[in-house]
Amino acid sequence: MQYKSQAVAKPYFIAAIGLFVAQILFGLILGLQYVIGDFLFPHIPFNVARMVHTNALIVWLLMGFMGGAYYMIPEEAETELFSPKLALAMFWIFLVAAALTVAGYLLVPYSTLAAMTGNDILETMGREFLEQPLITKVGIVIVALAFLFNISMTVLKGKKTSISLVLLLGLWGLAVFFLFSFYNPVNVVLDKFFWWWTVHLWVEGVWELILGAFLAFVLIKTTGVDREVIEKWLYVIVTLTLITGIIGTGHHYYWIGTPEYWQWWGSIFSALEPIPFFAMTVFAFNMVNRRRREHPNKAAVLWALGTGVMAFLGAGIWGFLHTLAPVNYYTHGTQITAAHGHMAFYGAYVMVNLTIISYAMPILRGRAANSNKSQVMEMWSFWLMTIAIVFITLFLTAAGILQVWLQRASDTPLPFMVAQDKIALFYWMREWTGVVFLIGLLVYVASFFVGGREEKAA
């Protein structure tokens, strides 16, 4: 490790992986509740399991982003972090707030939690993905501001590289767009309209900048390709992301009461959204093909290449599958959306976090790369999780097509729950594939504890 203060990234990475395990466990509970409706009821109702599954995902990805930034920024800025103590303090605040929030979800009825946490002062709860109590949301803002202050000051006092500036742009964007989670107008159309400014402009906007910056950083380190070449690619990716992703928000505005022109704007611009992911994949493979060194951390390179491929498939192809308004008229809110969501989140943001963790963790533990044995295990976990998510996506896609046929396209449409019964076979297959994913994740965790001959630190 070049700078001592990079060490603050380690607890963030460990907590991120811990929350990842929790997310998957709740995913399995949730998957089982699709086919055994009263499984764990009333202790963990479906809505609570779903909330924990999605919120744990968001929190661990944010933890990973913060850890990645704390690792990357000192190296890019060529200076120590502005305040390692602030970074550590924010870690504990964030972790305790996340734990208390999950405990609140599990131990208290949601309406009671709302009453206990001041939702009547400013009503922000009860909306998908933004279910967190008001005090948690305020806590997230405080942590985000302290984090941004810390890394921005580090960049200001050190060297400014394109990669760190793209990362800063992404992270500031993340914080700014989160503020829309506090805006909850009574008008439901306006509510959904601005809700997407947090949800969509995160995952199909500013988070892609974070993804691009992490990928560029790891590829520079592992391939030895000139920074200038990688930065040019990054500019192209950032431009394509913003051009397509911002107006692409319109693909959420087809059926919520907004003007009809959104069906055109949303369709056209979101049909272009696979392009930045296309560019990312070609970029990653091109850099690895042109590499000037064989980096000992092969697992990190595998994760980097996997990010490109799986993000293109999940976010690009499976997004395009149902993004055009005439198609979305039938598919909106079906299991096809769930299929896209699972593969896109895994391909883009889970994998990029695992890329930066895979690259940084051995260095944080005093070596250039893990032992061969540990890397082989990590690569096994890569394939297990990746193949599992591909099949989860395929089963949910099949379930979604069947659901559309039975419930939407048919001349004699079936009621929602009857259609759900008819697609249960795919839910079972998804559940078993989810177990394979969990095994992959456990292998990943175990790879941290495997010994063997390690590559010495450079």
Binding site: V225, D226, R227, E228, V229, K232, F278, T281, V282, F285, N286, N289, R290, V309, F312, L313, I317, W318, L321, L394, T397, A398, I401, L402, W405, L406
Partner: protein
Amino acid sequence: MPPSADRPGSEPAAPGQGLAVAAESLYLANLLLAPGLAFAALFWLWRRHRDSAPALARQHLRQTTFVSLYGGILIVALSAVFIALGGLHWEWTWVLVITYFTCIHSALVLLGMFGLSRAMAGQSWRYPLIGPDDA
């Protein structure tokens, strides 16, 4: 020395690299933007350069032309067989055809992306399974 070699980060292009990149781009355009039209251009390019171009370009032209043909057959013929066997009024036909089409089409696109990245790095690329043997 070509002028581009003076710029930091740029490397001199391998002989035939431009044609190789064009071949892979037309292969992808045939799948994504202009089916048929892009293949016609690729076919013309292959016919014109198959004996005269540098080895790298010849290899990419041959691979992309034949994989476009085989890929097209895989996409259209098998989808047609599924529809012919199941009929358009059976829900499982749709489940099978849409899932199959999406998978095979994405796989062909991904392979083309790998090919493009290889061409851009001045390297050859043989498409797995359906790519013709390099003569």
